[in-house]
């Protein structure tokens, strides 16, 4: 069974430019999470989806960040415009009602210069 797939693995952009990250969860997992991990820190939730619905987006900076999960499967996280402080690792994870843990992808390391 394929795990959570994220792309790209690395991205370098100039500040003020837009950037997008893509995530394909494990097949059959209804819940999808985007986490932000700053250097030397633990992951922090940005947004959680149940199927197509964003059920927890309280930590998403909505002035510049947006996310979508149109068909309840894969998801895209976008930043526009990017700032220097957005340099971090963006992790995607998924889980289903039958599991108690979440399964993570390998993340995208974003560097804003």
């Amino acid at each position: 069974e394929a795990g959570v797939v994220q792309s790209p693995r690395y991205k370098i952009i100039e500040k003020k430019q837009p950037v997008a990250f893509w995530c394909n969860p494990i097949s059959g997992h209804n819940t999808l999470y985007w986490y932000l991990q700053n250097l030397g820190q633990g992951p922090e939730l940005l947004i959680r989806y149940e199927n197509e619905e964003a059920v927890d987006d309280s930590q998403l900076p909505k002035d510049r960040f947006s996310a979508e999960r149109l068909k309840g499967v894969d998801s895209t996280l976008k930043i526009q415009p990017a700032e220097l402080g957005d340099s971090a690792v963006y992790l995607c994870a998924s889980s289903s009602g039958g599991n108690t843990e979440a399964f993570f992808g390998q993340g995208t390391r974003l560097t804003v210069v």
């Binding site: 820190q41 633990g42 992951p43 889980s95 979440a102 992808g105």
Partner: protein, 116 residues
């Protein structure tokens, strides 16, 4: 609000020795899950071990075991016979049991070094 605290930013252990990583958490919930995740340089978070709060027996997975002290809200990870491949960041994490697929809250992590 629930919080997870890992007070050891870094630890080192000799290969084949035993090491214990500490974690405390704060919650008013009675039903919850606790986890230890491993994050190697590849960045992928890998589940090491899971503990259900309603279970009194400490979870064990091969060389990995936990010491779950519910009253003290403590959840430490013991790694026996440490191997070079155990070198990684280790995150203690918490999830409420009430709510399906609720978010997982992580500590700041402990970087484990294995000395050959």
């Amino acid at each position: 609000a629930q919080t997870v605290t890992q007070s050891q930013p870094e630890m080192s252990v000799q290969e084949a020795e035993t090491v214990t990583l500490s974690c405390t958490y704060d919650t008013s919930e009675s039903d919850y899950y606790l986890f230890w995740y491993k994050q190697p340089p590849s960045r992928q978070m890998i589940l090491v071990i899971r503990q259900e709060a309603y279970k009194q027996q400490n979870a064990t997975e091969n060389r990995f075991s936990v010491n779950f002290q519910k009253a003290a809200k403590s959840f430490s990870l013991k790694i026996s016979d440490s191997q070079l491949g155990d070198a990684a960041m280790y995150f203690c994490a918490y999830r409420r049991g009430c709510c399906r697929d609720d978010k997982i809250i992580f500590g700041k992590g402990t970087r484990l070094h294995i000395l050959p």
